[in-house]
């Protein structure tokens, strides 16, 4: 009786899963492994070896890894400070850091574009100070900056969560047993907040690796990421097969990085639930 009830409740979710997750995935796999004439082929997958595409993939991996590491380094001390604060104050400051998440992502990136442009705010200030203008926009660095700015809250939240759950007596126990601050941080605090670190890395690395909006706005057409190449295949070239094939390759890279992360993950929260 109860089982029937449960099956009835889960019905809509099953329909959803099938219609919007399983079927699209099957379609991508289908397109990825066939050509326009519906013949089986590996040529779409092989497109990854094209020099431009390969370069975009490596640049994507490099920039998203860089952005992830910098986000982690920036967010961890902040999360520690917030977690150790009194409830009211930390809630306010956390909200301040999260507010950008509530704004449209395009808007945030567009704001950076106007800052970094050739005649943008930064260069205007520089010329006002009689300093030479800098080439800021359309560089890999600009894209990394956009990624860090855009995804920092996604790193901060899981870290903050993990650190508020940390029993401070465990940290005191480490001091008590003779560990100094550095040893306590690396031997106790970091390992115990690993689930938060892994979640944060996942939340930043995956969207950064697949983004095409940030590189569009801050990279112009000069710096291409793998996301832009896939985007072009669908919207400009109109080659759905090639786009699907490259998407599959990108998925493989994400799966590999997730598997590596899961190796460091001890708890069942976070990545294992994503995989």
């Amino acid at each position: 009786m109860k089982k029937k009830h449960n099956a009835l409740l889960s019905g809509p979710y099953l329909v959803w899963t099938a219609a919007f997750i399983v079927i699209p995935l099957i379609l991508i796999v289908y397109y990825g492994f066939t050509d326009e004439n519906h013949h089986l082929t590996l040529s779409n997958i092989a497109k990854i070896t094209d020099p431009v595409t390969l370069k975009a993939l490596f640049l994507s991996l490099l920039l998203s890894a860089m952005a992830t590491v910098i986000c982690l380094i920036l967010a961890y001390p902040l999360a520690m400070i917030l977690a150790r604060m009194k409830n009211g104050a930390s809630a306010i400051i956390t909200t301040v850091f999260i507010i950008p998440m509530w704004m449209n992502s395009l808007l945030r990136i567009f704001a950076w574009q106007t800052l970094l442009e050739r005649n943008g705010v930064i260069n205007q200030v520089l010329s006002f100070l009689h300093l030479p203008p800098q080439h800021l926009i359309n560089t890999p660095a600009a894209i990394a900056l956009g990624m860090i700015y855009d995804y920092l809250p996604f790193m901060l939240l899981p870290l903050y969560n993990a650190l508020t759950k940390l029993d401070w007596n465990v940290v005191n126990a480490a001091y008590d047993l003779g560990a100094n601050r550095r040893q306590t941080f690396f031997k106790v605090i970091i390992p115990l907040t690993m689930p938060g670190i892994v979640s944060g890395i996942t939340m930043v690395f995956v969207p950064a690796l697949t983004t095409f909006v940030i590189s569009d706005f801050l990279g112009g057409s000069k710096v291409l990421l793998i996301g832009n190449i896939i985007d072009q295949q669908f919207t400009q070239v109109g080659n759905w097969n090639a786009g699907s094939g490259l998407s599959l390759v990108l998925m493989i890279f994400i799966l590999i990085s997730m598997a590596v992360m899961q190796h460091y993950e001890s708890d069942d929260e976070g990545v294992s639930s994503i995989l």
């Binding site: 029993d167 007596n169 005191n172 001091y175 100094n180």
Partner: protein, 379 residues
């Protein structure tokens, strides 16, 4: 047992303007099992945290083995703490937990392996090296926390309500374990608890604290038999605390009846408080309908008179079986007396009630209204 190992001098500490410790002075001797006992908020845990180095006193000094360690960081102190909720490193197995302090001190792996074995044997958990803390019961986790602390060979072990989270049976077992451990290790234990029974069972010395002040320091026997004030009397076990008048040395009037007692030096006709433990009250059942002056009544009263020339007459109003004894309420002379007895007196029984002069503990009345209020609030 004679050297002062730790000396707390004039320690004061406030949190958010609230005074938690007020000019506390206390010394702890080598190899002593000392318990800080008191209700929550009495300052006992703060005292322990100051000893461990997790809190800095606002005023005062902590002297350890003749050296001032007030400003010394926790990792530089020759003492280890067993925390209330174990505080084990859940990302390490039992062996790595125990080895933590030794690895920090860069001991050899051979030495560490021997130490782990020795410590696990000491806490009766041999063969648990590779278990994860999450897979252990509360009692086992607490033993690991103790093992993790003692492998560092501290001179002093600080224990912050270590048995608070365990069930009654386990708590009793662990009490004996801790006494055995202390004797085997030959080090000083400083134990914090709010459980008076735990304190009485294990300690060499008990420090009763309330509202940031030390109320009394003494052996368990002293604290139980000769409480210095109403707070201590009430906090340590059940007791009847009644106002009275010290008529002269060795004679006290309680609720209109004069009793012989053993206390002297309170003066003449001085108001005092008398503490009477429930198990010290003797009950004598009067036969049904026995009138005062009747031969049946006199027979019972003369028996009561042998114990102390003075007795109460009352009625049993409540009776509960407690296992070892019966707990009864006796209404007599306008006060409801708590009485423990191995003999059962049914509700409604008319009784005479008396006690040995030795068992009346006389205390000075609190001097100010304030102190009285504080005491009553805590009850």
């Amino acid at each position: 047992m004679s050297n002062k190992l730790i000396d707390l001098q004039h320690i004061s500490k406030a949190f958010d303007g609230q005074l938690v410790l007020d000019d506390l002075n206390l010394y702890i001797r080598e190899n002593e099992f000392l318990t800080l006992l008191g209700p929550s908020g009495c300052g006992k845990t703060t005292t322990l945290r100051i000893l461990g180095g997790f809190e800095q006193p606002d005023k005062g000094k902590v002297i350890f083995d003749g050296k001032d360690i007030t400003d010394l960081a926790p990792n530089k102190r020759q003492l280890n703490t067993v925390f209330q909720k174990y505080a084990l490193f859940t990302h390490m197995n039992v062996a790595d937990n125990i080895a933590f302090g030794l690895r920090i001190r860069k001991k050899s792996e051979d030495y560490i392996r021997d130490k782990i074995k020795y410590a696990l044997k000491l806490v009766n958990l041999e063969g648990f090296e590779n278990r994860m803390p999450d897979s252990l019961s509360g009692g086992q986790q607490q033993r690991i926390a103790i093992a993790r602390a003692i492998v560092n060979e501290p001179k002093v072990l600080l224990l912050d309500e270590p048995l608070g989270a365990l069930d009654l049976k386990l708590r009793k077992d662990m009490q004996y374990e801790l006494i055995r451990l202390k004797n085997e290790l030959g080090i000083t234990f400083i134990y914090v608890t709010h459980d008076q029974e735990e304190a009485l069972t294990m300690s060499d010395t008990i420090v009763v604290m309330n509202q940031g002040y030390i109320q009394q320091i003494g052996t368990p026997e002293d604290i139980y038999n000769e409480p210095q004030n109403a707070f201590v009397a009430d906090f340590i076990g059940d007791s009847n605390i009644v106002g009275g008048t010290m008529v002269r040395d060795k004679l006290v009037e309680i609720l209109g009846v004069r009793f012989a007692c053993v206390d002297t030096g309170f003066g003449v006709n001085k108001p005092v408080d008398a503490v009477i433990r429930p198990e010290d009250l003797e009950l004598y059942a009067l036969p049904k309908g026995a009138e005062k002056g009747s031969p049946e009544y006199d027979k019972v009263s003369s028996k009561a008179y042998e114990l102390n020339p003075g007795y109460f007459e009352g009625v049993v109003t409540d009776l509960i079986f407690k296992g070892v004894h019966y707990e009864m309420d006796v209404e007599a002379n306008g006060y409801t007396w708590l009485v423990h007895s191995t003999k059962m007196f049914p509700v409604g029984t008319h009784v005479l009630m008396n006690l040995d002069p030795f068992n009346i503990q006389i205390m000075n009345k609190p001097e100010s209204e304030d102190e009285q209020a504080v005491t009553l609030n805590e009850m």
